[in-house]
Symmetry: C2
Subunit: 226 residues, 2 copies
DNA sequence: GAGGGATTTGACCAAATGGTCAAGATACAA
DNA sequence: TTGTATCTTGACCATTTGGTCAAATCCCTC
């Protein structure tokens, strides 16, 4: 119903779990991520997740008490890593490098974990029934903190005056778009982020667009060795 | 299974339909848009759509032969209007005004038809099972044409050299993000595009970020009357 | 206002699916 | 080896849900 951490164990804590238990929980979570991200919560079936995890439906339900429990566990499992990059924005760092680094991290997340991106997108588009409380507390706090950082950079004259919130939204939107809409992108370009050359081209294009958008020189001036 | 135009009638052609027929088809399509955009294809139920449209499930199935037929009709119904703004990009116009106009159109689409945006996003995220052929033909042709326009602007030195494709993706991503992720945005800001002030603020933020990103002055220099 | 096609619906059906349960298989400690 | 807790599964159940059908009912024309 509400709150993502409501299963047996908080998340990937190995303690208090037998070898078999840990192995099977991981198999299930991997399978569930694939299924939920591909079909959404409603479209996913417990049977398919079990098959993908190589066990019977009954056995899966021995580890997770319900479909919703699997879903919540999957969500919790990816949420932390999915929101992590923002935390690395360093107030003391060079704004251009910090923002560029953040953008590239996000694009590489889209390249390496597109299912996580789609799962998250799906959840939010359905009204975030499970993670709304987290968005309203943890994420909100984090975003406000980082908005402060950007604000400080602006006040220090390091970048053009822009609304930090919309800057963050723009970075999220553009970077996640390449994962969530990869089918459309493939239909239009014949490639996606799994193509190394396309990945690099995307990183350059998005980074340069946004950094220039906030008035930062990009690519950085030639500084030889620094 | 494939191709969106496969129902009884091509789309909103009034011809050959009784008054009752037209009224009910519209009721159904409206209800279906709400339901499909909220729950996705799998999560939606024919019964709820019928209820929302004020008729029995049986009667709904008298007008559309299957759930998939309703879905396809809904998709076809919105697709045209959804992709329309891009067509207005005028090669002869001023690049800054043209791009700003396009961006604002898209944001206003997100504000006025968020369900359409979410329906489209859902369809594409599921792998575009119904509209992939359209993306690969009509949309691809349109996008290539407009990329050419932007390319010409670049060659004429009117804007910085950027990859037109990624520029278009960025515009799509940012503008649609405000509709598709409105729950998250509301969780973080307390507002969304249905708030006129927030809408305007968003238009300014996104437009200024992207236009500056491609090296165009924005807002435009004071030209008094032109 | 009668005839006939268009419209509407409740009853019903079959398949899919989440979840239960009791019995069997397995691993492991003593 | 053996007893016990853990693990695994097939059989089964209740509910949901997409779709059918025949019987009304409505609307319009002649």
């Amino acid at each position: 119903m509400a709150g993502v951490g409501g299963q047996t164990q908080s998340s990937s804590k190995t303690g208090g779990m037998s070898r078999i238990q840990e192995k099977n929980r991981n198999l299930i979570l991997d399978a569930a991520l694939g299924e939920f991200s591909k079909k959404g919560f409603s479209g996913a079936t417990v049977e398919r997740i079990a098959a993908e995890a190589g066990m019977s439906k009954s056995n899966l339900l021995y580890y997770f008490s319900s479909k919703e429990a699997i879903y919540n566990a999957t969500l919790a499992h990816i949420l932390e890593v999915w929101l992590a990059p923002l935390k690395t924005l360093d107030p003391a760092g060079d704004p251009a490098r910090e923002l560029a680094g953040y953008i590239c991290q996000k694009i590489e997340m889209s390249a390496n974990f597109p299912e996580a991106s789609r799962l998250f997108a799906n959840e939010v588009m359905q009204g975030a029934p499970q993670i709304l409380p987290i968005l309203e507390t943890d994420l909100k706090r984090l975003v406000q903190e980082k908005c402060g950082v950007i604000e400080d950079w602006i006040d220090a004259g390091k970048l053009r005056r822009v609304d930090p919130l919309h800057l963050i939204f723009t970075i999220w939107a553009t970077t996640q778009h390449y994962a969530d809409f990869s089918v459309q992108i493939r239909a239009l370009t014949g490639r996606d982020l799994s193509d190394a050359a396309f990945l690099q081209q995307t990183e350059e294009a998005v980074t340069s667009l946004i950094l220039n958008g906030v008035g930062l020189a990009w690519p950085p001036e030639e500084t030889e060795q620094e």
